[in-house]
Symmetry: C2
């Protein structure tokens, strides 16, 4: 039988795992610094838990699962937000605010393409149980800090508000059934520009007058305060309460983001940023990397209605998802990983001189482990060159050689594979030298 992977699936071999783990651990640390706690939910959910939440196009991509005698209709989770809402509904006594993060795989049967897989990790942080814009502001600050720590420099967090978007739609006078098309059109503003969006709106059959009013709104200029002030005047004049409520949310959000100390060049209000998922209800956030142009790497917002699909209560929630697979790829492609991130956890390879000395090499590897080193035994008494080549191939920084001469003298010869330097020392001193040499070098944990 040919060993094969399913379409769109992949293995992560050890060398890539080192980078992956560095990124995941960085996220875990920053999430916990912000007071988020880890949560684990099962990969399989009842099909009905997932259906009706994402829209029918998305739901076509869900994997169903079943065992031979199973009566339940099961599906593999499509994201981590709906399982979170299920958890919140199921355990009403969880103390709130409840801040959880989850970094775990989800499955979507999308057409496979370069860098896109059908099993991929999502990395989410959400705050449950408060309507305070301070929670949304924390999410913005969290995004800023997490990306900065990972080495991202040129990014902007775009802010908008679903209530405001509803207000904009009503203000422009677009007929209700065309609202979805309106948002789809203005979402393309950055790519198509003003005229492009105008054409797009015409194509969707939006009346000229509505188009004009809408594009007029999008052209308001100034700083945050000026823009929101002008919008607020217009919404007031047109008596559109949702719009005013959205503006108030954004104003409060901005005030709190400032209190958190997020640098002002890191966030910007963008009325043309429209996030697809229907369940958002308040502020929405999206991070765009401007240089290099790699598009959006976080997405999120407030979704106060989701728990209501499972329980008779409405529970406010806000949060963000980090595009962790994309982030890992970019860090790899642009060489943004710490220079001392090793290719393997192994720090020293203990070679085997010949079969009779296997026991001595075994004991030496154990002595290194007891001295706090990550040590590996080669197992086979092959030629020394082959064993050295193995260490080189895998990026193991030190090699220990224990021949008859060393054994007789109670010492070991250790070679630094980077510098080529070689020392012959008693095992404890050798371990000390290796620890010192590795000293500054982190091990990516």
């Amino acid at each position: 039988m040919e060993p094969r992977l399913p379409r769109g699936m992949r293995d992560i071999l050890p060398e890539q795992m080192m980078l992956r783990r560095y990124v995941i651990r960085s996220f875990e640390e920053i999430f916990e610094a912000y007071g988020f706690e880890p949560l684990q939910t099962p990969a399989l959910e009842l099909r009905e838990t997932l259906m009706g939440k994402y829209g029918s196009d998305a739901e076509k991509l869900i994997y169903d699962a079943r065992h031979r005698e199973g009566k339940e209709e099961l599906s593999l989770r499509y994201d981590l937000s709906v399982p979170l809402a299920r958890v919140v509904a199921m355990y009403p006594n969880l103390p709130r605010p409840f801040k959880r993060y989850q970094i775990a795989p989800v499955w979507r049967a999308e057409r496979p393409q370069k860098g896109r897989y059908r099993e991929f990790y999502q990395c989410d942080a959400d705050i449950v149980g408060t309507s305070s814009m301070a929670a949304d502001a924390e999410i913005i600050s969290l995004i800023h800090e997490a990306l900065t720590r990972l080495g991202f420099r040129n990014f902007v967090i775009l802010l908008n508000d679903r209530k405001l978007l509803t207000g904009l739609g009503r203000y422009s006078g677009v007929p209700e059934p065309l609202l979805g098309s309106l948002y789809r059109a203005i979402d393309k503003f950055d790519r198509l520009g003003l005229e492009g969006v105008r054409e797009e709106m015409r194509r969707y059959g939006i009346p000229e007058e509505a188009i004009a009013r809408m594009l007029d709104l999008l052209q308001i200029e100034g700083d945050h305060t000026e823009i929101l002030g002008e919008l607020s005047r217009r919404m007031q004049a047109a008596e559109i309460p949702e719009g005013l409520e959205g503006i108030r949310e954004l104003e409060t959000l901005l005030r709190f983001v400032e209190a958190m100390g997020v640098p002002s060049e890191r966030y910007r209000i963008s009325f043309t940023m429209v996030r697809g998922l229907e369940y958002y209800t308040g502020p929405i956030f999206e991070t765009v990397v401007t240089e290099p142009r790699i598009g959006s790497i976080t997405g999120g917002g407030r979704y106060d209605g989701l728990v209501g699909l499972f329980a008779r209560q409405s529970v406010p929630m806000t949060g963000t998802s980090f595009g962790i697979e994309r982030i890992i790829d970019v860090i790899q492609e642009l060489g943004m990983a710490p220079p001392d991130l090793p290719r393997t956890p192994v720090q020293i390879l203990v070679t085997v001189f010949d079969e009779p000395r296997m026991g001595a090499s075994i004991a030496l590897a154990q002595a290194f482990r007891r001295a706090g080193l990550k040590a590996m035994l080669y197992f086979e008494p092959r030629r020394l060159e082959a064993q050295l080549r193995y260490a080189h191939q895998k990026g193991i920084p030190f090699v220990a050689i224990l021949g008859p001469d060393e054994e007789a003298r109670g010492v070991v010869t250790v070679r630094d594979m980077g510098s080529g330097e070689q020392r012959t020392l008693p095992p404890e001193e050798a371990a000390r030298w290796i620890r010192q040499s590795l000293g500054g070098k982190g091990d990516g944990r």
Copy 2:
């Protein structure tokens, strides 16, 4: 819609996650100290990759998966060994020896019962590409160290060998088709005793003479050397090369386990330990906890034939699986976790006095984070008692109070929730006090 979990599935809430993570991190550290590297494989494999490897009873428990337009027959992985064999066959250029560990969920549709779930983590360490018994010895030493580090005291690693079992069968003269029943019967030796096993064998239709010869073998007494010596004499006399080969393997294994410094009370040869999976080919290992009697918590062995099911090459492999879910349960039930393992990663809750002071509390939480603390803001200006109760409920060790008085003086009042001690200090000094108080206390990472 009622929020529900599928049958046999569960959520792991944050407090349980802290213990779980402590156990997982302990395993990761010890695996890496032994030179194992992390590997990740997808949850979904081609159905044909899994089928025909586990036996038909097991294969009934496999979950199949499919998406609406998918043509491939997919299944959720049933263990981590078969995916490893697939990886080894798919990437023939992976440098060997290849030592990998994987701690990840698998899915089996077993009848749910207390402490048994249909999604559970497996925790495996395997060594690929060497036939040396030094590799098997490392697995024994790894089991000893991992369990000892986690606080297990009364356990024994049972050793046996598949070749020797084959030899025992041939020696006893049991007809070929009854060999499986023979092993099933002697596997019950510890539970049923000599007479019980005799009855069991009769029930399976094993001839009296074969039963007598078999039970005679099982009663050989003495230390390892004596037992293996006596067995060896009998196998030699009966001219059973597999038996002799198995004995040689065990002798070499024992020599290397000794070289690794594993205490002799930690392992024992047991001819009646028979591991179920058909793919083992050499030494097999199983760890039994004797006090309290919680049964077996690791299982493994050498399986040189598994890769051959995927590739035209045969690749030697050996390894073990730790029953990590059982281990976590036992650590919890017996209170074996480190006493300083926190119930939450959060170290300080910053309360909110009133809405106008929200900005000041936000800034204070940020200042604590910059000072290296894991800080959480309460978000809502509820009564202080409610906020303190929240901290108490969640086990957050410190609470910061920032009222008008503190704000005017540029200080903060910090309460140690454990001792009740309270100090009013500038934020940086408060952070220093908290860090010192937490000092010795690990955070389970």
